[in-house]
C-alpha cells in the first residue's frame, strides 16, 4: 500500500471515529437520559462532601435527599421515581468538572443539580451548558457565575449573593444617625463568593461616609487568623464585615473574643448563618448580635416550608432552629423541577430552561424569578443571633424580632 493510501485510510478511520463519537455524545446530551421516560428520573449532582466546603456541602446533600425521599413517597414526578446520583468533588474546581462530565456522558443522568459555592459552580455550569442541561444551583451566586451569561443557569436563592451585602448595607444605612457606625473594617477570604459580598458593602458604606479603617484579603490556606484580626482590632472599627465561608468565619470570631475586641456591629457573609456549626465552633455565648444573611428561616410561611421543616426534623433530628438554610435551598431546587413538571406535564432540560425563564415560581425561599443570566430578582433577609437562635430582623416585612443594636459583648 502506498504512503498516500495509508494516510487516506488513517484519515478516514479518524473521521469515522469522530462521527461515531459525536453521535454517542449527542445521544447522551440535552434532554437525553439513559433511563428512558418510564424508568426512574436520574438526577446527578456533584457535592463537596469533603474538603473546605464540606459543612455546607453536606447540608446541600441533605436537602436534595430529603426532597427526593419526599417526592418519591408521593409517587415521584409524572409517575417516575427520583433517583439521585451524588458524587463528591472534594471542594475542588477541577474535580467538579470531571464529575459533571461523567454524570452527563457516562452515567447519562436525566437532569443535573448544582454543587456548593461559586468557585465550583462557575466551571460546573459551563459543562452543563455545553451539553444542553438545565443547571439549577442552590449555591454559587457570586458575580462570576452571572458574568458567564449562561441561559441554562438558575441560581436558586432570592437574589445574587452580593445582594446579601446589599441587605446589610441597607439595614445599617437605614439606622438613625446616632446609631450608625462611623468606621468599618473588612477581613475577606480570597474566594469568589465571600469577597464580593464584603466589597459590595464597603462600596456602599464608603459612599455613605463610613470610613474604611482596615481591609485585608487572606488566602484560604491561612492557618492562623489571629494576627489579621489583631491588626483589624487595633483600628477599633465600629463595624466588622467578614467576607467569610465557614472555617474562617469561626476563626475570626474566636480571635476577636481572645483579643477582647467587641465591635458595635458584626456581619459575616457565610458561616454565621449555620445554625448548628456556628455555635458549636465559637460557643453559643459568643454568637449574640452577630448578623448574617438568610433566605429561609424557621417559621417561614413560604410555600411548603412547614412540611419541609417537619420532614427535615423527622429525617435528621434536632429542631426547627437547627435546620441549615443550605438544605432549604437544595430542597427548593427539587421543588422547582416538580413545579415545572406539574405545570407543563413534561420533564426535560429544554422544558425546564424555557419554563423557568418566565413567570414566578413558589419555593421554600419565596416566589423566585430570574433574568437572562440566571440571576434571581428578589432580596435576602438578614438574620441575627439572639438568645442562641437565628432570627430574621430585616427587612421589616419578614422580621420576627427587633435587631439588637449595638452588638452585646462576647460571652453575653
Amino acid at each position: 500500500m502506498s504512503k498516500g493510501n495509508r494516510l487516506y485510510r488513517a484519515a478516514a478511520s479518524l473521521a469515522v471515529v469522530a462521527v461515531v463519537g459525536a453521535g454517542l455524545t449527542a445521544c447522551g446530551s440535552g434532554s437525553g437520559g439513559g433511563s428512558g421516560s418510564n424508568g426512574p428520573l436520574v438526577i446527578g449532582a456533584s457535592i463537596s462532601l469533603t474538603g473546605d466546603f464540606s459543612d455546607s456541602g453536606k447540608a446541600v446533600e441533605r436537602g436534595y435527599q430529603l426532597w427526593a425521599n419526599t417526592v418519591n413517597a408521593h409517587g415521584g414526578i409524572l409517575g417516575r421515581q427520583v433517583k439521585l446520583d451524588i458524587v463528591d468533588d472534594a471542594s475542588s474546581p477541577t474535580q467538579v468538572v470531571t464529575n459533571y462530565q461523567n454524570l452527563i456522558n457516562k452515567d447519562h443522568v436525566d437532569l443535573t443539580f448544582g454543587p456548593f459555592s461559586t468557585l465550583l459552580t462557575v466551571p460546573a455550569a459551563q459543562v452543563a451548558h455545553r451539553y444542553g442541561y438545565a443547571f439549577l444551583a442552590p449555591a454559587g451566586g457570586g458575580p462570576q457565575v452571572f458574568a458567564q451569561k449562561l441561559d441554562n443557569f438558575f441560581f436558586v436563592q432570592p437574589a445574587p449573593v452580593v445582594d446579601a451585602g446589599e441587605a446589610f448595607a441597607n439595614f445599617i444605612l437605614g439606622l438613625p444617625a446616632a446609631q450608625r457606625p462611623r468606621t468599618a473594617a473588612y477581613a475577606e477570604l480570597d474566594d469568589p463568593f465571600s469577597a464580593p459580598v464584603a466589597e459590595n458593602i464597603r462600596q456602599r458604606f464608603e459612599a455613605a461616609g463610613i470610613k474604611t479603617v482596615y481591609k485585608q484579603v487572606y488566602p484560604s490556606e491561612t492557618a492562623d487568623l489571629s494576627p489579621v484580626m489583631a491588626a483589624l482590632a487595633a483600628t477599633k472599627p465600629d463595624v466588622i464585615v467578614g467576607g467569610t465561608q465557614s472555617e474562617d468565619a469561626y476563626a475570626q470570631v474566636k480571635a476577636l473574643v481572645q483579643l477582647k475586641y467587641n465591635p458595635k456591629f458584626m456581619f459575616q457573609a457565610n458561616g454565621a448563618n449555620a445554625p448548628v456549626d456556628f455555635p458549636n465552633n465559637v460557643g453559643t455565648s459568643n454568637t449574640s448580635g452577630i448578623i448574617g444573611s438568610a433566605d429561609w428561616f424557621p417559621g417561614s410561611t413560604a410555600s411548603g416550608s412547614a412540611a419541609f421543616t417537619a420532614a427535615y426534623i423527622k429525617a435528621y433530628g434536632g429542631n426547627a432552629n437547627q435546620v441549615d438554610d443550605n438544605s432549604a435551598e437544595a430542597y427548593s431546587v427539587g421543588q422547582l423541577v416538580q413545579d415545572v413538571a406539574q405545570k407543563t406535564g413534561k420533564i426535560d432540560n429544554a422544558t425546564l430552561i424555557s419554563s423557568l425563564h418566565s413567570g414566578r415560581w413558589p419555593t421554600l425561599l419565596g416566589n423566585l424569578s430570574w433574568d437572562d443570566t440566571g440571576a434571581p430578582k428578589g432580596q435576602y433577609n438578614l438574620v441575627q443571633w439572639q438568645n442562641g437562635k437565628l432570627v430574621p430582623i430585616y427587612p421589616a416585612s419578614s422580621a420576627k424580632a427587633k435587631p439588637i443594636v449595638p452588638k452585646p459583648n462576647w460571652g453575653q
Partner: protein, 292 residues
C-alpha cells in the same frame, strides 16, 4: 505599633505549638532518617481524640494529654512496625516519603469516616480567654501551649540524655553498626523512636483543637509548615526545630499583622530559601550523625 507588638506576642506564643509538632518530626528523622509526612495528620488525629474525650466525658484537653500520648505512642509504634520496617534499608529514606504520605491519607480517611468532615473546635470555658497586660492580649491557651512545649521538650531532652533508651537512641544515631555490635536492638529503637515522635503530636493536637477550628483535611496546611520548620532548624535537631518554629511563626505573624496575610504564608518560605542558600543543612543541622 500596637498591631506589630500584638503580632509579635501572638507569633512567639504560637511558636510553642509548632515547636511541639516539629520536635516529633525532627526526632523521627534524627533516629530513622525518615521524613514523616504523616506528622500533620497525627496532630489532627490527636486533636480529634481530645475533642472526643471532651465531648463525651467532659475531660479537659490538657488533662487528656496523658491518655492521648499513650494512644499516639502506640499508633506510632504500629505505623513503624506495619509500614516502615518492611522497607529495605537502602531504599528507606526515599520510600518512607511515599509510605508516610500514604499513612497520612489513611488517617485522613479514618478521621473522615469516624468524625465526618464537619469543622470542629474544642470549646472549653477558657478556650478563648486571655489576659490583658499593658493593653496587649495574652491568649491563655497559647501561653499554656508555650509552657507545655517547654515541659514536653524538657521531658524529651531528659529521655534522650538521661535514660538507657536515650543512650541507645543516641548510639544508634551516631553509629548504628557499633551500637548493634554492642547489643542495641536497632529495630526496637526505631519503633520506640517513631512512637516517641508520634507521641509529641498528642499535646500538640490538644492545643491545636483549642486554638483553631479543624477537620480531617487540616493536615495538608500543617505539614508544609512543619517541613519548613524542621528544614529551617536543621533536620534531626530538636533545638533547631524550636528556633525554626519561632522564626516561622514570628515572621508570618508580623507580616500578617503589619503588611498583608497574602504575603505571610510566603514569608517563611523566603526565609527558608535564604537559610538553605547560605547554610544548606539548616540553622542547626550537622554534617555528621548525632544531631539529637
Amino acid at each position: 505599633m500596637h498591631a506589630l507588638i500584638q503580632g509579635i506576642i501572638l507569633g512567639i506564643l504560637t511558636a510553642g505549638v509548632y515547636a511541639l509538632m516539629a520536635s516529633g518530626q525532627t526526632l523521627i528523622f534524627g533516629i530513622m532518617k525518615v521524613v514523616n509526612l504523616a506528622q500533620g495528620a497525627m496532630v489532627i488525629f490527636a486533636a480529634y481524640l481530645s475533642y472526643q474525650l471532651f465531648a463525651s466525658f467532659g475531660l479537659d484537653p490538657f488533662l487528656a494529654i496523658p491518655i492521648t500520648t499513650v494512644v499516639m505512642f502506640a499508633l506510632g509504634v504500629a505505623v513503624e512496625w506495619c509500614f516502615l520496617r518492611p522497607l529495605r534499608r537502602e531504599d528507606k529514606a526515599e520510600l518512607s516519603l511515599l509510605v508516610t504520605f500514604a499513612v497520612a491519607l489513611l488517617l485522613e480517611g479514618v478521621m473522615t469516616v469516624v468524625w465526618s468532615t464537619s469543622v470542629r473546635s474544642i470549646n472549653t470555658s477558657y478556650a478563648n480567654s486571655s489576659w490583658t497586660i499593658a493593653g496587649y492580649q495574652i491568649t491563655l491557651v497559647r501561653l499554656w501551649a508555650f509552657l507545655l512545649s517547654l515541659v514536653a521538650l524538657g521531658v524529651l531532652y531528659f529521655i534522650l540524655q538521661r535514660t538507657g533508651f536515650g543512650r541507645a537512641v543516641r548510639a544508634s544515631v551516631q553509629n548504628p553498626e557499633s551500637a548493634r555490635l554492642l547489643g542495641v536492638r536497632s529495630e526496637a529503637i526505631s519503633a520506640l523512636g517513631f512512637g516517641l515522635g508520634s507521641a509529641t503530636a498528642a499535646a500538640a493536637g490538644s492545643v491545636y483543637g483549642l486554638l483553631y477550628p479543624f477537620n480531617s483535611g487540616s493536615h495538608y496546611d500543617l505539614i508544609s509548615r512543619l517541613l519548613s520548620i524542621v528544614l529551617l532548624g536543621g533536620l534531626g535537631s530538636i533545638g533547631g526545630a524550636v528556633i525554626g518554629a519561632v522564626i516561622v511563626s514570628l515572621s508570618s505573624a508580623i507580616v500578617a499583622a503589619t503588611i498583608s496575610p497574602v504575603w505571610s504564608e510566603m514569608t517563611f518560605f523566603v526565609v527558608l530559601l535564604l537559610v538553605l542558600i547560605i547554610r544548606p543543612r539548616g540553622l542547626f543541622g550537622v554534617a555528621s550523625r548525632g544531631a539529637i
